[in-house]
Protein backbone atom coordinates (compact mmCIF):
# COMPACT_ATOMS: atom_id res chain seq x y z
CA UNK A 1 0.00 0.00 0.00
CA UNK A 2 2.65 2.52 1.08
CA UNK A 3 6.17 1.86 -0.04
CA UNK A 4 9.35 3.86 0.50
CA UNK A 5 12.26 2.94 -1.72
CA UNK A 6 15.76 4.17 -0.79
CA UNK A 7 14.44 7.57 0.29
CA UNK A 8 16.96 10.19 1.36
CA UNK A 9 16.31 13.69 2.62
CA UNK A 10 18.79 16.14 4.03
CA UNK A 11 18.47 19.67 5.37
CA UNK A 12 21.68 21.57 4.84
CA UNK A 13 24.41 19.24 6.06
CA UNK A 14 22.16 17.06 8.19
CA UNK A 15 20.78 13.89 6.68
CA UNK A 16 17.40 13.49 8.33
CA UNK A 17 16.36 10.37 6.45
CA UNK A 18 19.09 8.16 5.06
CA UNK A 19 18.41 5.56 2.39
CA UNK A 20 15.21 4.44 4.05
CA UNK A 21 13.13 1.63 2.57
CA UNK A 22 10.07 -0.03 3.99
CA UNK A 23 6.72 -1.31 2.93
CA UNK A 24 3.30 -1.24 4.57
CA UNK A 25 0.68 -3.73 3.44
CA UNK A 26 -3.04 -3.05 3.37
CA UNK A 27 -4.74 -3.46 6.74
CA UNK A 28 -1.56 -3.37 8.82
CA UNK A 29 -0.86 -1.28 11.89
CA UNK A 30 2.81 -0.40 11.77
CA UNK A 31 4.76 1.46 14.42
CA UNK A 32 7.66 3.76 13.65
CA UNK A 33 9.84 4.37 16.67
CA UNK A 34 13.20 5.89 17.38
CA UNK A 35 14.92 8.39 19.66
CA UNK A 36 14.48 12.15 19.27
CA UNK A 37 15.74 13.49 15.97
CA UNK A 38 15.83 10.12 14.29
CA UNK A 39 13.73 11.30 11.32
CA UNK A 40 10.31 9.89 12.16
CA UNK A 41 8.36 13.07 11.58
CA UNK A 42 10.43 13.85 8.50
CA UNK A 43 9.42 10.46 7.11
CA UNK A 44 5.75 11.30 7.59
CA UNK A 45 6.23 14.77 6.11
CA UNK A 46 7.88 13.16 3.07
CA UNK A 47 4.96 10.77 2.65
CA UNK A 48 2.40 13.59 2.78
CA UNK A 49 4.27 15.82 0.36
CA UNK A 50 5.25 18.65 2.69
CA UNK A 51 8.68 18.43 1.13
CA UNK A 52 9.92 16.22 -1.70
CA UNK A 53 12.62 13.60 -1.10
CA UNK A 54 16.15 14.30 -2.41
CA UNK A 55 16.32 10.83 -3.91
CA UNK A 56 14.36 7.61 -3.90
CA UNK A 57 10.67 7.07 -4.52
CA UNK A 58 7.57 6.99 -2.36
CA UNK A 59 4.69 4.95 -3.79
CA UNK A 60 1.15 4.89 -2.47
CA UNK A 61 -1.35 2.59 -4.20
CA UNK A 62 0.52 2.64 -7.54
CA UNK A 63 0.96 6.44 -7.46
CA UNK A 64 4.42 7.95 -7.12
CA UNK A 65 4.10 10.72 -4.53
CA UNK A 66 7.46 12.45 -5.10
CA UNK A 67 6.21 15.44 -7.05
CA UNK A 68 2.58 15.56 -5.93
CA UNK A 69 1.18 18.44 -3.89
CA UNK A 70 -0.12 17.86 -0.35
CA UNK A 71 -3.78 18.09 -1.34
CA UNK A 72 -3.31 15.71 -4.27
CA UNK A 73 -1.84 13.14 -1.91
CA UNK A 74 -4.71 13.68 0.51
CA UNK A 75 -7.17 13.06 -2.30
CA UNK A 76 -5.55 9.70 -3.02
CA UNK A 77 -6.67 8.63 0.46
CA UNK A 78 -3.63 9.26 2.63
CA UNK A 79 -4.51 11.29 5.73
CA UNK A 80 -2.40 12.32 8.70
CA UNK A 81 -2.38 14.02 12.08
CA UNK A 82 0.29 16.34 13.40
CA UNK A 83 2.70 16.04 16.28
CA UNK A 84 1.91 19.57 17.41
CA UNK A 85 -1.83 20.07 17.09
CA UNK A 86 -2.77 21.99 13.98
CA UNK A 87 -6.47 22.62 14.18
CA UNK A 88 -8.03 25.82 12.87
CA UNK A 89 -8.66 27.48 16.20
CA UNK A 90 -11.15 30.10 15.06
CA UNK A 91 -13.44 27.55 13.42
CA UNK A 92 -15.92 25.31 15.21
CA UNK A 93 -15.05 21.69 15.89
CA UNK A 94 -17.65 20.56 13.37
CA UNK A 95 -16.25 22.86 10.68
CA UNK A 96 -12.74 21.64 11.38
CA UNK A 97 -13.81 18.08 10.70
CA UNK A 98 -15.89 19.14 7.69
CA UNK A 99 -12.79 20.64 6.09
CA UNK A 100 -11.27 17.20 6.39
CA UNK A 101 -14.13 15.95 4.22
CA UNK A 102 -13.32 18.32 1.35
CA UNK A 103 -11.57 15.66 -0.73
CA UNK A 104 -14.95 14.05 -1.39
CA UNK A 105 -16.71 17.32 -2.27
CA UNK A 106 -16.74 17.74 -6.02
CA UNK A 107 -19.15 20.64 -6.61
CA UNK A 108 -17.55 23.42 -8.63
CA UNK A 109 -17.00 27.00 -7.46
CA UNK A 110 -20.08 28.33 -9.24
CA UNK A 111 -22.30 25.47 -8.11
CA UNK A 112 -21.27 26.13 -4.53
CA UNK A 113 -21.95 29.86 -4.81
CA UNK A 114 -25.50 29.38 -6.13
CA UNK A 115 -26.14 26.49 -3.74
CA UNK A 116 -26.93 24.05 -6.53
CA UNK A 117 -28.51 20.71 -5.50
CA UNK A 118 -25.18 18.92 -5.82
CA UNK A 119 -23.51 21.40 -3.50
CA UNK A 120 -26.30 21.16 -0.90
CA UNK A 121 -26.22 17.37 -0.97
CA UNK A 122 -22.46 17.30 -0.49
CA UNK A 123 -22.71 19.85 2.29
CA UNK A 124 -25.22 17.60 4.06
CA UNK A 125 -23.04 14.55 3.53
CA UNK A 126 -20.06 16.41 4.94
CA UNK A 127 -22.04 17.44 8.03
CA UNK A 128 -23.28 13.89 8.63
CA UNK A 129 -19.85 12.37 8.08
CA UNK A 130 -18.26 14.94 10.39
CA UNK A 131 -20.80 14.28 13.14
CA UNK A 132 -20.27 10.56 12.71
CA UNK A 133 -16.50 10.92 12.94
CA UNK A 134 -16.88 13.06 16.06
CA UNK A 135 -19.10 10.38 17.56
CA UNK A 136 -16.47 7.74 16.83
CA UNK A 137 -13.86 9.66 18.82
CA UNK A 138 -16.46 10.66 21.42
CA UNK A 139 -16.39 14.40 20.75
CA UNK A 140 -19.87 14.88 19.26
CA UNK A 141 -21.00 16.93 22.27
CA UNK A 142 -18.40 19.57 21.45
CA UNK A 143 -19.34 20.00 17.79
CA UNK A 144 -20.41 23.65 18.15
CA UNK A 145 -17.46 24.75 20.31
CA UNK A 146 -14.52 26.63 18.86
CA UNK A 147 -11.59 24.29 18.34
CA UNK A 148 -9.28 26.69 20.17
CA UNK A 149 -11.39 26.45 23.34
CA UNK A 150 -10.87 22.71 23.78
CA UNK A 151 -8.34 21.08 26.05
CA UNK A 152 -5.21 19.51 24.64
CA UNK A 153 -6.45 15.92 24.75
CA UNK A 154 -9.78 16.89 23.19
CA UNK A 155 -7.97 18.68 20.38
CA UNK A 156 -5.98 15.52 19.68
CA UNK A 157 -9.21 13.57 19.34
CA UNK A 158 -10.68 16.20 17.01
CA UNK A 159 -7.56 15.99 14.88
CA UNK A 160 -8.01 12.25 14.68
CA UNK A 161 -11.66 12.74 13.68
CA UNK A 162 -10.54 15.20 10.99
CA UNK A 163 -8.14 12.62 9.59
CA UNK A 164 -10.61 9.73 9.56
CA UNK A 165 -13.75 11.57 8.42
CA UNK A 166 -13.35 10.49 4.79
CA UNK A 167 -12.52 6.88 5.66
CA UNK A 168 -9.08 7.17 4.07
CA UNK A 169 -7.22 4.01 3.13
CA UNK A 170 -4.22 4.95 5.19
CA UNK A 171 -3.72 7.25 8.17
CA UNK A 172 -0.34 8.43 9.40
CA UNK A 173 -0.45 9.31 13.09
CA UNK A 174 2.37 11.51 14.34
CA UNK A 175 2.67 10.92 18.09
CA UNK A 176 -1.07 10.55 18.71
CA UNK A 177 -0.60 9.81 22.42
CA UNK A 178 1.70 12.71 23.27
CA UNK A 179 0.25 14.61 26.21
CA UNK A 180 -2.68 12.27 26.74
CA UNK A 181 -3.70 10.74 30.06
CA UNK A 182 -2.98 7.04 30.51
CA UNK A 183 -6.65 6.00 30.24
CA UNK A 184 -7.03 8.01 27.06
CA UNK A 185 -4.02 6.28 25.55
CA UNK A 186 -5.64 2.90 26.17
CA UNK A 187 -8.87 4.20 24.63
CA UNK A 188 -6.97 5.54 21.66
CA UNK A 189 -5.35 2.16 21.13
CA UNK A 190 -8.75 0.46 21.18
CA UNK A 191 -10.10 3.04 18.75
CA UNK A 192 -7.27 2.50 16.29
CA UNK A 193 -7.73 -1.27 16.48
CA UNK A 194 -11.47 -0.90 15.95
CA UNK A 195 -11.05 1.30 12.90
CA UNK A 196 -8.50 -1.10 11.54
CA UNK A 197 -10.81 -4.07 12.02
CA UNK A 198 -14.03 -2.46 10.77
CA UNK A 199 -12.85 -0.32 7.87
CA UNK A 200 -9.57 -2.02 7.06
CA UNK A 201 -7.76 1.29 7.55
CA UNK A 202 -3.99 1.02 7.43
CA UNK A 203 -2.09 2.87 10.15
CA UNK A 204 1.48 4.08 10.47
CA UNK A 205 2.03 5.28 14.03
CA UNK A 206 4.99 7.36 15.08
CA UNK A 207 5.26 7.16 18.83
CA UNK A 208 7.47 7.72 21.82
CA UNK A 209 5.24 5.78 24.18
CA UNK A 210 6.29 2.22 23.68
CA UNK A 211 3.22 1.06 25.58
CA UNK A 212 0.83 2.04 22.78
CA UNK A 213 3.02 0.81 19.96
CA UNK A 214 3.81 -2.52 21.59
CA UNK A 215 0.13 -3.18 22.27
CA UNK A 216 -1.47 -2.49 18.93
CA UNK A 217 1.15 -2.72 16.20
CA UNK A 218 1.70 -5.89 14.28
CA UNK A 219 5.08 -4.68 13.04
CA UNK A 220 7.57 -2.09 14.25
CA UNK A 221 10.24 -0.21 12.35
CA UNK A 222 13.08 1.35 14.33
CA UNK A 223 14.87 4.45 13.06
CA UNK A 224 18.13 5.79 14.41
CA UNK A 225 19.53 8.99 12.89
CA UNK A 226 17.52 8.48 9.72
CA UNK A 227 18.52 4.87 9.16
CA UNK A 228 16.40 1.81 9.67
CA UNK A 229 18.16 -0.44 12.15
CA UNK A 230 15.48 -3.03 12.78
CA UNK A 231 12.07 -4.17 11.64
CA UNK A 232 9.85 -6.92 12.99
CA UNK A 233 7.20 -8.02 15.45
CA UNK A 234 7.06 -6.11 18.77
CA UNK A 235 8.61 -8.91 20.77
CA UNK A 236 11.54 -9.31 18.38
CA UNK A 237 12.16 -5.58 18.54
CA UNK A 238 12.21 -5.57 22.33
CA UNK A 239 14.84 -8.29 22.32
CA UNK A 240 16.89 -6.94 19.42
CA UNK A 241 20.41 -6.17 20.67
CA UNK A 242 20.96 -3.26 18.34
CA UNK A 243 17.66 -1.60 19.23
CA UNK A 244 18.36 -1.94 22.92
CA UNK A 245 21.79 -0.40 22.44
CA UNK A 246 20.63 2.50 20.28
CA UNK A 247 17.17 3.30 21.48
CA UNK A 248 16.86 2.17 25.05
CA UNK A 249 20.43 2.85 26.07
CA UNK A 250 21.31 0.24 28.69
CA UNK A 251 20.56 -3.46 28.79
CA UNK A 252 18.73 -3.03 32.09
CA UNK A 253 15.95 -0.77 30.83
CA UNK A 254 14.62 -3.34 28.38
CA UNK A 255 12.94 -5.09 31.28
CA UNK A 256 10.79 -2.07 32.06
CA UNK A 257 8.83 -2.41 28.86
Amino acid sequence: MLQLCEVTKSFGGITAVDNLSFRIEKGEIVGLIGPNGSGKTVTINLCTGIYPPDSGTIVFQDFVLNSLKEWEINRLGLARTFQTIRLWNKMSVLENVMVGYSRLMRASFWKTIVRAPQSRREENEARQAALHALEIVGMAAFADKLAGDLSFGQQRLVELARALVTNPDCILLDEPAAGLKAELVVQLGKLIKKLNREHGTTFLIVEHRTQLVMNICCRIIVLVSGRKIAEGAPLDIVNNEEVIKAYLGKRKSSESI
Binding site: T48, G49, I50, K69, E70, W71, N74, R75, A79, R80, F82, R86, L87, W88, N89, K90, M91, E95, M98, V99, G100, S102, R103, M105, A107, F109, T112, I113, R115, S119, E122, E123, A126, R162
Partner: protein, 346 residues
Protein backbone atom coordinates in the same frame (compact mmCIF):
# COMPACT_ATOMS: atom_id res chain seq x y z
CA UNK B 1 -34.42 7.57 32.62
CA UNK B 2 -34.53 10.88 34.44
CA UNK B 3 -31.46 12.01 32.60
CA UNK B 4 -32.93 10.96 29.28
CA UNK B 5 -36.13 12.85 29.95
CA UNK B 6 -34.28 15.95 31.00
CA UNK B 7 -32.24 15.82 27.85
CA UNK B 8 -35.34 15.63 25.69
CA UNK B 9 -36.84 18.63 27.49
CA UNK B 10 -33.63 20.58 27.13
CA UNK B 11 -33.54 19.69 23.42
CA UNK B 12 -37.03 21.09 22.98
CA UNK B 13 -35.95 24.16 24.92
CA UNK B 14 -32.91 24.79 22.77
CA UNK B 15 -35.03 24.33 19.65
CA UNK B 16 -37.51 26.90 20.89
CA UNK B 17 -34.69 29.21 21.91
CA UNK B 18 -33.14 28.87 18.48
CA UNK B 19 -36.45 29.64 16.85
CA UNK B 20 -36.93 32.76 18.97
CA UNK B 21 -33.38 33.82 18.24
CA UNK B 22 -33.96 33.44 14.52
CA UNK B 23 -37.23 35.33 14.76
CA UNK B 24 -35.52 38.11 16.71
CA UNK B 25 -32.74 38.39 14.14
CA UNK B 26 -35.23 38.35 11.26
CA UNK B 27 -37.27 41.15 12.84
CA UNK B 28 -34.19 43.26 13.56
CA UNK B 29 -32.91 42.75 10.01
CA UNK B 30 -36.19 43.65 8.35
CA UNK B 31 -36.57 46.77 10.51
CA UNK B 32 -33.02 47.79 9.60
CA UNK B 33 -33.62 47.18 5.90
CA UNK B 34 -36.88 49.13 5.94
CA UNK B 35 -35.18 51.98 7.81
CA UNK B 36 -32.45 52.03 5.17
CA UNK B 37 -35.08 52.30 2.42
CA UNK B 38 -36.63 55.45 3.95
CA UNK B 39 -34.05 58.22 3.26
CA UNK B 40 -34.76 58.68 -0.48
CA UNK B 41 -38.45 59.08 0.32
CA UNK B 42 -37.91 61.59 3.13
CA UNK B 43 -34.70 63.46 2.30
CA UNK B 44 -34.78 65.94 -0.56
CA UNK B 45 -31.15 67.11 -0.40
CA UNK B 46 -29.18 65.26 -3.06
CA UNK B 47 -25.97 65.68 -1.03
CA UNK B 48 -27.16 63.49 1.87
CA UNK B 49 -28.42 60.84 -0.49
CA UNK B 50 -25.07 60.79 -2.24
CA UNK B 51 -23.26 60.27 1.04
CA UNK B 52 -25.49 57.32 1.90
CA UNK B 53 -25.07 55.83 -1.58
CA UNK B 54 -21.32 56.17 -1.04
CA UNK B 55 -21.71 54.13 2.16
CA UNK B 56 -23.47 51.32 0.29
CA UNK B 57 -20.90 51.31 -2.51
CA UNK B 58 -17.96 51.37 -0.09
CA UNK B 59 -19.59 48.61 1.93
CA UNK B 60 -19.67 46.42 -1.18
CA UNK B 61 -15.94 46.98 -1.74
CA UNK B 62 -15.20 46.36 1.94
CA UNK B 63 -17.21 43.12 1.92
CA UNK B 64 -15.20 41.86 -1.03
CA UNK B 65 -11.92 42.94 0.52
CA UNK B 66 -12.92 41.25 3.77
CA UNK B 67 -13.02 37.94 1.92
CA UNK B 68 -9.47 38.46 0.76
CA UNK B 69 -7.94 39.97 3.90
CA UNK B 70 -10.16 38.92 6.77
CA UNK B 71 -11.50 35.53 5.72
CA UNK B 72 -8.67 34.15 3.59
CA UNK B 73 -5.81 36.09 5.21
CA UNK B 74 -4.28 37.44 1.98
CA UNK B 75 -3.32 41.08 2.45
CA UNK B 76 -4.34 43.14 -0.55
CA UNK B 77 -3.50 46.84 -0.76
CA UNK B 78 -4.76 47.32 -4.31
CA UNK B 79 -8.50 47.15 -3.94
CA UNK B 80 -9.03 50.65 -5.36
CA UNK B 81 -7.43 49.51 -8.62
CA UNK B 82 -10.12 46.85 -9.06
CA UNK B 83 -12.83 49.40 -8.40
CA UNK B 84 -11.11 51.79 -10.80
CA UNK B 85 -10.75 49.23 -13.56
CA UNK B 86 -14.44 48.53 -13.86
CA UNK B 87 -15.36 52.20 -13.40
CA UNK B 88 -12.97 53.24 -16.17
CA UNK B 89 -13.78 50.39 -18.55
CA UNK B 90 -17.45 51.27 -18.23
CA UNK B 91 -16.88 55.01 -18.72
CA UNK B 92 -14.54 54.54 -21.68
CA UNK B 93 -16.84 52.07 -23.42
CA UNK B 94 -19.84 54.33 -23.00
CA UNK B 95 -18.30 57.70 -23.88
CA UNK B 96 -15.63 56.80 -26.42
CA UNK B 97 -17.13 53.71 -28.06
CA UNK B 98 -20.78 54.60 -27.63
CA UNK B 99 -21.55 51.13 -26.37
CA UNK B 100 -24.95 50.45 -24.79
CA UNK B 101 -24.91 50.60 -20.99
CA UNK B 102 -25.90 46.99 -20.33
CA UNK B 103 -23.18 45.63 -22.61
CA UNK B 104 -20.59 48.04 -21.19
CA UNK B 105 -21.45 47.01 -17.64
CA UNK B 106 -21.05 43.32 -18.51
CA UNK B 107 -17.72 43.89 -20.23
CA UNK B 108 -16.37 45.93 -17.32
CA UNK B 109 -17.35 43.22 -14.82
CA UNK B 110 -15.74 40.51 -16.93
CA UNK B 111 -12.53 42.52 -17.29
CA UNK B 112 -12.33 42.90 -13.51
CA UNK B 113 -12.81 39.17 -12.98
CA UNK B 114 -9.85 38.46 -15.25
CA UNK B 115 -7.76 41.08 -13.47
CA UNK B 116 -8.66 39.42 -10.16
CA UNK B 117 -7.62 36.08 -11.61
CA UNK B 118 -4.25 37.51 -12.68
CA UNK B 119 -3.53 39.12 -9.30
CA UNK B 120 -4.79 35.98 -7.56
CA UNK B 121 -2.37 33.80 -9.49
CA UNK B 122 0.48 36.08 -8.45
CA UNK B 123 -0.70 35.92 -4.86
CA UNK B 124 -0.29 32.16 -4.67
CA UNK B 125 3.46 32.55 -5.09
CA UNK B 126 3.86 35.26 -2.46
CA UNK B 127 3.19 35.52 1.22
CA UNK B 128 2.51 38.21 3.82
CA UNK B 129 4.42 41.47 3.32
CA UNK B 130 5.63 40.50 -0.17
CA UNK B 131 2.07 40.04 -1.36
CA UNK B 132 1.13 43.38 0.21
CA UNK B 133 3.95 45.11 -1.66
CA UNK B 134 2.97 43.56 -5.00
CA UNK B 135 -0.67 44.60 -4.67
CA UNK B 136 0.47 48.06 -3.59
CA UNK B 137 2.69 48.30 -6.68
CA UNK B 138 -0.20 47.12 -8.82
CA UNK B 139 -2.32 49.99 -7.55
CA UNK B 140 0.48 52.53 -8.05
CA UNK B 141 1.05 51.41 -11.63
CA UNK B 142 -2.68 51.56 -12.26
CA UNK B 143 -2.88 55.20 -11.15
CA UNK B 144 0.20 56.14 -13.18
CA UNK B 145 -1.34 54.61 -16.30
CA UNK B 146 -4.60 56.45 -15.65
CA UNK B 147 -2.93 59.83 -15.29
CA UNK B 148 -0.64 59.44 -18.29
CA UNK B 149 -2.73 57.75 -20.98
CA UNK B 150 -4.45 61.04 -21.84
CA UNK B 151 -6.06 59.74 -25.02
CA UNK B 152 -7.80 56.82 -23.40
CA UNK B 153 -8.46 57.81 -19.81
CA UNK B 154 -8.59 61.58 -20.02
CA UNK B 155 -5.57 61.82 -17.71
CA UNK B 156 -5.89 63.71 -14.42
CA UNK B 157 -9.08 65.39 -15.66
CA UNK B 158 -10.96 62.10 -15.65
CA UNK B 159 -14.01 61.23 -17.71
CA UNK B 160 -17.47 62.71 -17.52
CA UNK B 161 -20.34 60.52 -18.69
CA UNK B 162 -23.87 61.49 -19.66
CA UNK B 163 -26.74 60.52 -17.39
CA UNK B 164 -26.96 56.77 -17.81
CA UNK B 165 -29.97 55.27 -19.49
CA UNK B 166 -30.70 51.61 -18.90
CA UNK B 167 -33.72 50.08 -20.65
CA UNK B 168 -35.00 53.55 -21.54
CA UNK B 169 -34.90 54.62 -17.89
CA UNK B 170 -32.80 57.61 -16.85
CA UNK B 171 -30.97 56.80 -13.66
CA UNK B 172 -30.91 59.51 -11.01
CA UNK B 173 -29.59 59.51 -7.48
CA UNK B 174 -32.79 58.16 -5.93
CA UNK B 175 -32.89 55.21 -8.27
CA UNK B 176 -29.17 54.64 -7.66
CA UNK B 177 -29.88 54.59 -3.95
CA UNK B 178 -32.21 51.62 -4.31
CA UNK B 179 -29.96 49.95 -6.86
CA UNK B 180 -26.85 50.25 -4.68
CA UNK B 181 -28.70 49.15 -1.56
CA UNK B 182 -30.21 46.19 -3.40
CA UNK B 183 -26.78 45.18 -4.68
CA UNK B 184 -25.37 45.45 -1.15
CA UNK B 185 -28.07 43.22 0.35
CA UNK B 186 -27.76 40.66 -2.45
CA UNK B 187 -23.96 40.61 -2.23
CA UNK B 188 -24.07 40.38 1.55
CA UNK B 189 -26.34 37.33 1.28
CA UNK B 190 -24.02 35.85 -1.34
CA UNK B 191 -21.13 36.51 1.02
CA UNK B 192 -22.88 34.64 3.81
CA UNK B 193 -23.51 31.66 1.53
CA UNK B 194 -19.85 31.60 0.48
CA UNK B 195 -18.63 32.06 4.06
CA UNK B 196 -20.46 28.98 5.34
CA UNK B 197 -19.86 26.84 2.23
CA UNK B 198 -16.86 24.63 1.57
CA UNK B 199 -15.20 27.58 -0.18
CA UNK B 200 -15.50 29.72 2.95
CA UNK B 201 -14.22 26.90 5.13
CA UNK B 202 -11.27 26.55 2.77
CA UNK B 203 -10.60 30.30 3.08
CA UNK B 204 -10.66 30.22 6.86
CA UNK B 205 -8.57 27.06 7.06
CA UNK B 206 -5.99 28.65 4.74
CA UNK B 207 -5.92 31.75 6.93
CA UNK B 208 -5.55 29.95 10.25
CA UNK B 209 -3.03 27.29 9.23
CA UNK B 210 -2.10 27.00 5.59
CA UNK B 211 0.01 23.87 5.94
CA UNK B 212 -2.76 22.00 7.75
CA UNK B 213 -5.22 23.12 5.07
CA UNK B 214 -3.00 21.77 2.30
CA UNK B 215 -2.49 18.46 4.03
CA UNK B 216 -6.23 18.10 4.68
CA UNK B 217 -6.98 18.29 0.97
CA UNK B 218 -7.52 22.02 0.35
CA UNK B 219 -6.00 23.20 -2.88
CA UNK B 220 -4.64 26.43 -1.41
CA UNK B 221 -3.46 27.75 -4.78
CA UNK B 222 -7.00 27.63 -6.09
CA UNK B 223 -8.47 28.85 -2.81
CA UNK B 224 -6.35 32.00 -2.73
CA UNK B 225 -7.10 32.73 -6.38
CA UNK B 226 -10.80 32.36 -5.63
CA UNK B 227 -10.50 34.79 -2.72
CA UNK B 228 -8.95 37.39 -5.01
CA UNK B 229 -11.57 36.75 -7.67
CA UNK B 230 -14.43 37.22 -5.23
CA UNK B 231 -12.99 40.46 -3.92
CA UNK B 232 -12.46 41.59 -7.52
CA UNK B 233 -16.07 40.84 -8.46
CA UNK B 234 -17.35 42.83 -5.48
CA UNK B 235 -15.02 45.72 -6.32
CA UNK B 236 -16.09 45.56 -9.96
CA UNK B 237 -19.77 45.87 -9.09
CA UNK B 238 -18.94 48.78 -6.80
CA UNK B 239 -16.97 50.44 -9.60
CA UNK B 240 -19.92 50.18 -11.96
CA UNK B 241 -22.23 51.65 -9.32
CA UNK B 242 -19.75 54.46 -8.72
CA UNK B 243 -19.69 55.47 -12.38
CA UNK B 244 -23.47 55.30 -12.58
CA UNK B 245 -23.91 57.45 -9.48
CA UNK B 246 -21.30 60.17 -9.86
CA UNK B 247 -21.08 60.27 -13.66
CA UNK B 248 -17.57 61.56 -13.26
CA UNK B 249 -14.44 59.56 -12.52
CA UNK B 250 -10.88 60.69 -12.00
CA UNK B 251 -7.66 58.92 -10.97
CA UNK B 252 -7.80 60.52 -7.51
CA UNK B 253 -10.68 58.22 -6.52
CA UNK B 254 -8.57 55.10 -7.07
CA UNK B 255 -5.26 55.92 -5.42
CA UNK B 256 -3.38 53.85 -2.87
CA UNK B 257 -4.81 56.10 -0.15
CA UNK B 258 -8.27 54.94 -1.18
CA UNK B 259 -7.09 51.32 -0.97
CA UNK B 260 -5.94 51.99 2.58
CA UNK B 261 -9.34 53.47 3.36
CA UNK B 262 -11.00 50.27 2.14
CA UNK B 263 -8.62 48.29 4.33
CA UNK B 264 -9.48 50.59 7.25
CA UNK B 265 -13.17 49.78 6.74
CA UNK B 266 -12.43 46.07 7.01
CA UNK B 267 -10.22 46.45 10.07
CA UNK B 268 -12.63 48.81 11.84
CA UNK B 269 -15.57 46.53 11.19
CA UNK B 270 -13.72 43.41 12.24
CA UNK B 271 -11.45 41.16 10.17
CA UNK B 272 -13.36 38.21 8.77
CA UNK B 273 -16.68 39.50 10.14
CA UNK B 274 -18.99 40.30 7.23
CA UNK B 275 -21.62 42.61 8.86
CA UNK B 276 -18.71 44.53 10.36
CA UNK B 277 -17.58 45.63 6.90
CA UNK B 278 -20.83 47.53 6.44
CA UNK B 279 -20.38 49.25 9.80
CA UNK B 280 -16.75 50.03 8.95
CA UNK B 281 -17.73 51.45 5.57
CA UNK B 282 -20.32 53.68 7.22
CA UNK B 283 -17.81 55.03 9.74
CA UNK B 284 -15.00 55.64 7.24
CA UNK B 285 -17.40 57.29 4.76
CA UNK B 286 -19.36 59.47 7.19
CA UNK B 287 -16.59 60.76 9.48
CA UNK B 288 -14.71 62.66 6.72
CA UNK B 289 -18.01 64.09 5.43
CA UNK B 290 -18.92 65.37 8.91
CA UNK B 291 -15.66 67.28 9.11
CA UNK B 292 -15.46 68.39 5.51
CA UNK B 293 -15.26 72.01 6.73
CA UNK B 294 -11.87 71.32 8.25
CA UNK B 295 -10.42 70.68 4.78
CA UNK B 296 -6.96 69.12 5.18
CA UNK B 297 -7.48 68.25 8.82
CA UNK B 298 -10.19 65.66 8.45
CA UNK B 299 -7.60 62.97 7.83
CA UNK B 300 -6.39 63.56 11.39
CA UNK B 301 -9.91 63.11 12.70
CA UNK B 302 -10.43 59.95 10.63
CA UNK B 303 -7.12 58.59 11.92
CA UNK B 304 -7.93 59.30 15.54
CA UNK B 305 -11.41 57.83 15.13
CA UNK B 306 -9.86 54.62 13.79
CA UNK B 307 -7.39 54.52 16.68
CA UNK B 308 -10.15 55.13 19.23
CA UNK B 309 -12.32 52.38 17.75
CA UNK B 310 -9.50 49.88 17.71
CA UNK B 311 -8.60 50.86 21.27
CA UNK B 312 -12.11 50.33 22.64
CA UNK B 313 -13.30 47.59 20.26
CA UNK B 314 -10.15 45.61 19.47
CA UNK B 315 -12.11 42.97 17.56
CA UNK B 316 -13.81 45.62 15.42
CA UNK B 317 -16.76 47.96 15.71
CA UNK B 318 -18.97 45.40 13.96
CA UNK B 319 -18.97 43.44 17.19
CA UNK B 320 -20.64 46.36 18.94
CA UNK B 321 -23.83 44.41 19.80
CA UNK B 322 -21.72 41.71 21.44
CA UNK B 323 -19.80 44.22 23.53
CA UNK B 324 -23.10 45.69 24.57
CA UNK B 325 -24.42 42.27 25.55
CA UNK B 326 -21.28 41.40 27.49
CA UNK B 327 -21.53 44.68 29.39
CA UNK B 328 -25.02 43.74 30.52
CA UNK B 329 -24.04 40.14 31.15
CA UNK B 330 -21.08 41.13 33.31
CA UNK B 331 -23.35 42.20 36.11
CA UNK B 332 -25.09 38.83 36.04
CA UNK B 333 -21.97 36.74 35.73
CA UNK B 334 -22.28 34.79 39.00
CA UNK B 335 -25.90 33.88 38.35
CA UNK B 336 -25.01 32.57 34.91
CA UNK B 337 -22.26 30.33 36.21
CA UNK B 338 -24.40 28.49 38.70
CA UNK B 339 -27.12 28.27 36.13
CA UNK B 340 -25.06 26.74 33.37
CA UNK B 341 -22.90 24.15 35.03
CA UNK B 342 -24.62 20.85 35.56
CA UNK B 343 -22.28 18.38 37.20
CA UNK B 344 -24.17 15.30 36.04
CA UNK B 345 -23.63 16.24 32.41
CA UNK B 346 -19.86 16.40 32.64
Amino acid sequence: MMKMRRRIISDANTKRLRFYNKLKIAIICSVLILACLLPPLLVETIYYLRVIVAIWINAIVALGLNFCVGVCGQISLGQAAFVGTSAYVLAILVTKQGAPWILAILVSLISVVFLGLAVGLVSTRLRGPYLAIVTLAFNLVFVIVLTNELNITGGPFGIRVNPPQVLGLTIDVKLMYFLAFGCLIALYQLGRVVYFSKIGRGFRATRDDELAARVMGINTVMTKTQAFMISAIYAGIAGVLQTLTYRFIAPTSFTVIQSFRYLAMVVIGGMGYLPGSIVGAAIVTVVPELFRGLAGFWDIILGSTILAILLFFPKGAGFFPEYFKSLIARSKVEERWTGEIDISDI
